[in-house]
Symmetry: C2
């Protein structure tokens, strides 16, 4: 087979697909269907313009509860010189919306009328009066909704290609339609392939991969107006995949063939496409996601496009955004989704391969007047980076990266309103922050935290790039937490230091402590492997201080250079056997059912610029510190001391 | 009955409802249900946080196709001094995603390895080699996705209250869940009442009102995450309405009782609420929409809130936005919808009742650097004002209006991207513009036109508030169209004048011309009633010129002061019998099946500032002038001459 992965630029890849679609007569809306005008029409796209069939109102309607009159017969009425009009011949009562009698051309609101009984006295208003008395003239067509006020028969009400919103349904009904011509929804087959895959909900063994790309792709397709069919998992067998695709094209407009799109020994997608039709593209210079396949599978009367979607979940989801959404927009005759774009300041430099358009997920927050974008984990296997992403920055081909502090254009995944309610936390990680995020979500705040360690948090504070920093920096000389560092690192940033928790640091070891580890002294055992925290982390500073006190050289500890960024990932390294022990908090050990050898107590503080300490944005967070439900939940985590919570340690100006 | 309409401020009304909900234990999420994690979970709101059940990856996984090794055994390998590793004991082949053998701690990508056969020669790569040769050392954990790289078991993946997006579904599946706890959808009964109502699709007679508010409200409820039930129309009978409500509360969480919420003779809503429970609010100081009713209907174990929704369609839809959406957000435990807000310049002054919060629908466009907001029709019966609205401005209580040119804060209904693609047209109306709007919609442009007449268009051009103006201003001295006016009104705005169409102006009369109208001279007949166009309209200038030529005094024409803003509404006035004739274009007469007496030919031009004439924004519009499909469609309208279409009449600098 002549299948070989060769990346081409994104625009060229898209153009090849468009050309093939055009050649096949598939470049516009797929077809239309008449649908009933009810609430299920919401979100459908109009296949044809809606022209008003009848006017609205379709007769002259009273705009008020009142009396229909001939305006010329009211001329001369004055407060001091009232006029009477006989009921039935000169006036009749009309409710709002009632048609005007043929002879009438105005309405006098009920509150401006004195109803009269037979004797010319004011009547009780129980039934229609004999006459009415008025004390002001009324202009022609006053308080009347003339025929066609809203829509005139034959006028354009909505253009083709319009996606129906609630009010549109009302307007279409109001001008006389009970059906609409909607664009047929594109039918999309999502076929997961891979012998190592197991379906969601099935037992998972070592080496199994939970198959959820088809779930993400199907949800994307449905959200964009298509109709997805999820196929069962197909094993990595050329013939089986080929047969499944050949069957799917009979009833679908598009095939998404997931994974097997690279060039490995079990990557059959390109071969399947070649055997069933034409391979247009194998490899696109985008990151993540480059082993994308584009092709056309032969079928009568017209071929069916197929997209080979890469297997890594972030690559798969981005392939959906880059290739599937614009194709569905084209087939639905609507405009492609246009994310809102904002300018933001990059918090960290990004390096990027010069040959690719690089789609980098970003956390976005507004700190003071600055809108900031912090790059999230780049791995294409890290779907939580998409979950956490507030937006995306595209580093174009030809660029090798962007320095920190540069302006970047962010395509937002969230509304700007949500960004404004985001509390940006850069600093040390503590599991209490996860609990806090959970509680803040119910209080109209989003907590976005970047774990860069305590020192990294102070640096972010100095740059004005975070609303607060979690910090547990032990000053080895004074034995004091945080304040000496704050004085050194933040001479120009007045802050309030508020205690969050006291907590225990200790050694996380495998269940049952099989290697018999008890002290920092044991770490030099060459049979053991330690896992460390990154430089600048409070835990790392604590470790280095204690090692120094004990006269233990870091070089003597196997695994010392191996760094992790959070307590939980340290524990995960131990749980997986990648390391025998690491220094972390008790809660991390319990989370993964590991043993914990307590060694030290420390205080974890929130360092908050005074500028934000009493802000409306942070108010719900400060309230939490006294919230009994929150405290109960934190207290349930092991190794935490809640006594200091909320205590103002100092204001450093 | 003690029911009396008394408006209270919006915030007080909302607070009364919230207090009643709190007293009834209904102020938070309604309950939860376990749902299967498939694509139907999209858009559901999490009732509980999602904590990772297993790590992802849940084992150390190869990140590449390659060979698993012990990194320490690769130490010392150099390009000039390669190293060999024995297959099975020192290395094994792994595909991307495969688990690493227990003994391995790194992967060497396949492209960096030379496979060797039994004799130590390079092997063909057909099957697993006997050994591999490497020319570089590899660091521990290189090309490995360590366990927990994406999610560590027990970590917070998503908070409660989060609305599920496609990638979220993947993350939840990836950390071991096959179900989620979702907030139960609020069930909302929508009950239309009114003897004058007919259901969508039923025959419509004079006085009938097509009932579509329930359609709009149900679609809103569904779009906001609720589950709407539309009830059949209930006649204006107190007992019947009461029984329907009493039945609906048994199976619903909220009742929307449409119309009958005012204080007229057939307005039973307030009485029904009082008879079944408690009337909290009757009348809210918002415009449109003030006769809103809020109440609680008694039921065990807890009462059911009821909202009496006003009957006018714009009032009904805004009542949905103001009262129903926040309530559903509360019950779903999600944040209320937050429209994106932008600052814009008001194009026309708005007057507003001081006592009400006034919600004014706006057309929004960006002309040059200015973002402009033009108030749309204010009538609460004009649902097309909601259809056309790009956003809304709230004029708060206490303000009597806002002068033109002031900055206003607009809550957008569209994405800012759509606003950027909006062509703003202020000026004279021609039906060709409707056709143009329809064609532009398929070309990623939205045409928003405000019909203020030809002169009004030139004024808008002078103020820099429109991308072009349609104009057909006859200069009575030179007989020339538009150019003399442009020279006078736009001395500082260089423009290009491009002909759109030639067209016939004439008298629109009832079918069969029963009154025998043939010339402008006939208009003075006191038995006839004329309908005029507004001052500044090209058609009005044409009429006044011709009357002057004929020596006819405007005062001698009955109906001359009665003004309409478009050709179609002039024709509608004739069709409805409100007038006997008017001056308009032939297409307007045909649209409403009226007769047309041609009198004059004229040219209708597009006046485009040079600044925009060659812009990317207007390019699709300029292309249309040469588009055969567009020309065919315009040619199908009666009374149009396409010969001049696209001709550049002049550039006036």
């Amino acid at each position: 087979m002549s299948v070989y992965l060769h990346d081409i630029p994104l625009d060229q890849a898209q153009q090849r697909l468009i050309d093939a679609l055009q050649a096949a007569g598939l470049s516009g809306p797929l077809g239309e269907e008449e649908i009933i005008l009810d609430e299920r029409a919401l979100g459908r796209v109009l296949a044809a313009p809606v022209w008003a069939k009848i006017s609205s109102p379709h007769y002259h309607a009273s705009a008020m509860d009142g009396y229909a009159v001939r305006s010329q017969e009211t001329a001369g009425a004055l407060p001091t010189s009232p006029l009477s009009l006989q009921y039935e011949t000169q006036t009749v009562y009309v409710d709002t919306g009632d048609p005007l009698p043929e002879w009438a051309n105005a309405v006098i609101p009920i509150e401006n009328v004195e109803p009269l009984d037979e004797g010319g006295q004011l009547s009780g208003g129980e039934r229609y009066p004999q006459a009415i008395r008025i004390r002001a003239a009324v202009a022609p067509w006053a308080h009347v909704r003339p025929m066609g006020e809203d829509m005139v028969a034959t006028q354009l009400v909505l253009p083709a290609g319009h996606t129906l919103r609630p009010a549109d349904l009302g307007a279409i009904a109001g001008c006389g339609h009970d059906r609409v011509q909607a664009v047929r929804k594109p039918r999309v087959a999502v076929i997961p392939t891979g012998t190592e895959l197991v379906a969601v909900g099935e037992p998972v063994r070592r080496g199994d991969i939970i198959e959820y790309n088809s779930l993400v792709l199907a949800a994307q397709v449905n959200a964009w107006g298509g109709e997805a069919t999820r196929y069962p998992i197909v094993a990595d067998e050329f013939e089986e995949i080929k047969n499944t695709v050949a069957e799917a094209v009979q009833t679908h407009d598009l095939i998404l063939l997931n994974a097997g799109s690279s060039a490995g020994s079990e990557d059959f997608s390109a071969g399947v496409v070649e055997s069933l039709g034409e391979l247009l593209v194998h490899g696109v210079a985008v990151r993540p996601g480059h082993p994308v396949i584009l092709g056309m599978v032969s079928r009568l009367p017209s071929p069916v496009p197929i997209i080979g979607v890469p297997g890594y979940p972030v690559s798969a989801a981005l392939t959906g955004e880059i290739f599937v959404e614009p194709l569905l927009a084209r087939w639905l005759g609507r405009q492609p989704v246009q994310p809102h774009e904002i300018d933001a300041t990059l918090t960290r430099k990004m390096t990027s391969p010069a040959g690719d358009d690089d789609y980098v997920r970003m956390a976005v927050g507004k700190v003071g007047e600055k809108t900031l974008a912090a790059p999230l984990a780049r791995g294409s296997g890290v779907i939580t980076s998409l979950v956490r992403a507030d937006g995306i920055v595209i580093v174009p081909r030809g660029s090798q990266g962007i320095p920190a502090g540069d302006a970047v254009r962010v395509r937002l995944y969230r509304s700007p309103g949500e960004i404004e309610q985001t509390i940006f936390a850069i600093g040390s990680h503590d599991m209490t922050l996860d609990v806090m995020a959970q509680f803040l979500a119910a209080r109209q705040r989003r907590l976005t935290s970047a774990n860069v360690g305590s020192l990294g948090g102070l640096v972010a504070l100095r740059r004005g790039e975070t609303h607060f920093a979690g910090s547990h920096l032990l000053d080895v000389e004074s034995g004091e937490y945080n304040l000496p560092y704050i004085r050194e690192y933040l001479p120009d940033v007045p802050v309030r230091v508020v205690a969050l928790v006291g907590r225990e640091q200790g050694l996380v070891v495998a269940r049952g402590n099989p290697k018999g580890i008890h002290t920092l002294g044991d770490l030099t055992n060459p049979e053991l492997r330690f896992v460390n925290r990154q430089r600048g982390a409070g835990t790392r500073i604590l470790l280095d201080y204690q090692l120094h006190q004990l006269g233990i050289s870091p070089e003597s500890i196997p695994g010392y250079p191996q760094e992790e960024y959070t307590h939980l990932t340290v524990a995960a390294a131990v749980a997986s056997g990648r390391a025998d022990c690491g220094l972390a908090i008790a809660a991390a050990a319990q989370a993964l059912a590991l043993d914990f050898i307590p060694l030290f107590k420390e205080r974890y503080d929130l360092v908050i610029p005074l500028e934000y300490a009493d802000s409306e944005l942070l108010a719900p967070l400060m309230d939490l510190l006294a919230d009994s439900e929150f405290r109960t939940m934190v207290a349930a985590l092991p190794g935490y001391d809640l006594a200091p919570m909320g205590e103002v340690i100092a204001e450093v100006k």
